[in-house]
Amino acid sequence: MIIGGAFQGKLRYARSMYPKITWADGKVCPYEEIKTCEGIFHLEAYIRRVMQEEEARPYLEMLNGLAGINPRIVVVSDEVGYGLVPADPFERRYRETAGRICTRLAADAERVDRVVCGIGTVIKKEEAPFEEMMPEEIVLPEERMPEEMMPEEIVLPEEIEKRSFEIITEELGDISLVPGTESVVKRCIHTSADFEYARNLVFSEQAVEKIHNAIRDGASIVTDTQMGKAGINKKKLGQYGGKVYCFMSDEDVAKEAKRRGVTRAAVSMEKAAGLHEKLIFAVGNAPTALIRLYELIREENFKPEAVIGVPVGFVNVVQSKERILTLEDIPYIVARGRKGGSNIAACICNALLYTL
């Protein structure tokens, strides 16, 4: 549940938190849609509507039990209870009713976020039981002991990576990965111990094959952090003639960014585009880099060999990645949602290099 005053950026916040769900608009949606929709915004308007129309009355009563009817629903509502008690009797009743319903929904909600000036604060969060915190499809074998109780395995240094991948494969179980993408997905999990990468990585058609070809043709890689650059296996890339560039610390980039009031990440993308080389972009940090890259592709006909878009974070991160997903001619690998990072960007590059 997401609440807050009107015009505080609640819906934007909600959309970035739950990027994959579809939303009903409480101002106009059919009454019964609330029983099945994944998310609803303007619940306060929905409440007003069902209070005003006689035939909608059953929906008003239903709202208190909404958690039972549509348990996964995400509800976005204005807070309407502050200020003087309205003189108009209907308004008075509406304000009170909306408050009571939201109080009930908040009691049933697993999580409540309150948004002020676009900034969300979690004001309630129920600790999910262990099983629920795992990605849905992954079920631990029942006979497995909790890890902290298991005796430590004795593994030779060179065996550790191999053993890690075995564990990953084992725990992935029946999850089917797109053929050709397995090495990338597993290496992301290997780097982060986060199985969500089995679900959030999106590959454009034949992305792996196309990036392999680009590397073979001597393409270089551009990163948006020195950390990303440091993590990429430059020796391996060098065998095919490619280099790794990161322009973030360049003085001309810093100056230009300051002059125009944009980020260095955005300017460093422009500088890379000006190289006129075959380039693969690996963005693990700055959504502004990804957004500028998108603009260069769409508006200035820039044609990189591929975009690896995996910035991590909370502000504009989700949106920047969604833009890359709309590209048609450029191969991409994108980690949907908030997760990612420079280490993930580097590890995807390495996974691609190691499977050549």
């Binding site: 609440i3 005053g5 807070e79 309407v80 209870g81 502050y82 200020g83 003087l84 008690v85 009797p89 008075r92 304000r95 009170e96 009713t97 909306a98 408050g99 009571r100 939201c102 109080t103 009930r104 929904l105 908040a106 009691a107 409540v112 309150r114 004001i123 309630k124």
Partner: protein, 208 residues
């Protein structure tokens, strides 16, 4: 200990306040006194009062009605000895009663239906208005302090009436200002201030 609970209309603050006081007094043989400040003007307020009575029924509260002059209840409280805890609900009614009740119907005695605020004519000048507001604020603070000295735990419920941008008549703006001032000063006095948002308590201040 003095606890101040604020929040919007329909936010669940009353229920939270009642539960808080019950929790505080759970293991002690204390009398729980509910100080009701809402004057029953008509059907709607009566229904609200009934709703609150229902909520309190099983929680073991005894009710004292007090529409103005909060300090006047201390005598009654003293009769219960020191083992008494008090819930005052709510400051927004107390402030409006103090500002708008005609002088003829003060105190905690029963009022007839004509004693309502709607009849009040306010023709005094700005200075009188400021003076009156200051008097009311001071009076309520003194009352709360007196109750605090008489009772063990005191939970005071108030209302956030100022977080909106509607323009009101000067009389209502005067009321809003009085509420703001009372809330600030009660919060200063309180050991703990909590804002209740749809049943979820958010800590604003705590010196516990």
């Amino acid at each position: 200990m003095l606890y101040l609970i604020t929040g919007g209309s329909g936010s669940g603050k009353s229920e939270y306040a009642e539960d808080l006081l019950c929790e505080l007094c759970r293991d002690r043989a204390e009398r729980l006194i509910y100080v009701a400040t809402m004057f029953p003007y008509g059907g709607e307020t009566k229904e609200k009062i009934r709703r609150h009575r229902r909520m309190r029924r099983d929680k073991g509260f005894e009710t004292i009605e007090c529409y103005t002059d909060l300090d006047s209840i201390t005598g009654e409280l003293k009769r219960y000895g020191t083992a008494v805890s008090v819930l005052i609900e709510c400051i927004s009614n107390l402030v409006s009663n103090e500002l708008f009740f005609p002088d003829s119907c003060r105190g905690k005695q029963e009022h007839d239906q004509t004693g309502g605020r709607m009849k009040v004519q306010r023709n005094d000048g700005e200075e009188d208005q400021i003076k009156r507001r200051e008097d009311v604020v001071n009076k309520i603070l003194k009352g709360a302090e007196a109750v605090g000295q008489t009772a063990g735990n005191v939970v005071i419920v108030t209302n956030e009436v100022n977080s909106e941008g509607l323009a009101y008549s000067p009389v209502m703006m005067d009321y809003k200002q009085a509420m703001g001032e009372v809330n600030c000063r009660l919060a200063e006095m309180a050991d703990k201030v909590t804002e209740v948002v749809y049943g979820i308590p958010l800590e604003v201040k705590s010196r516990l």
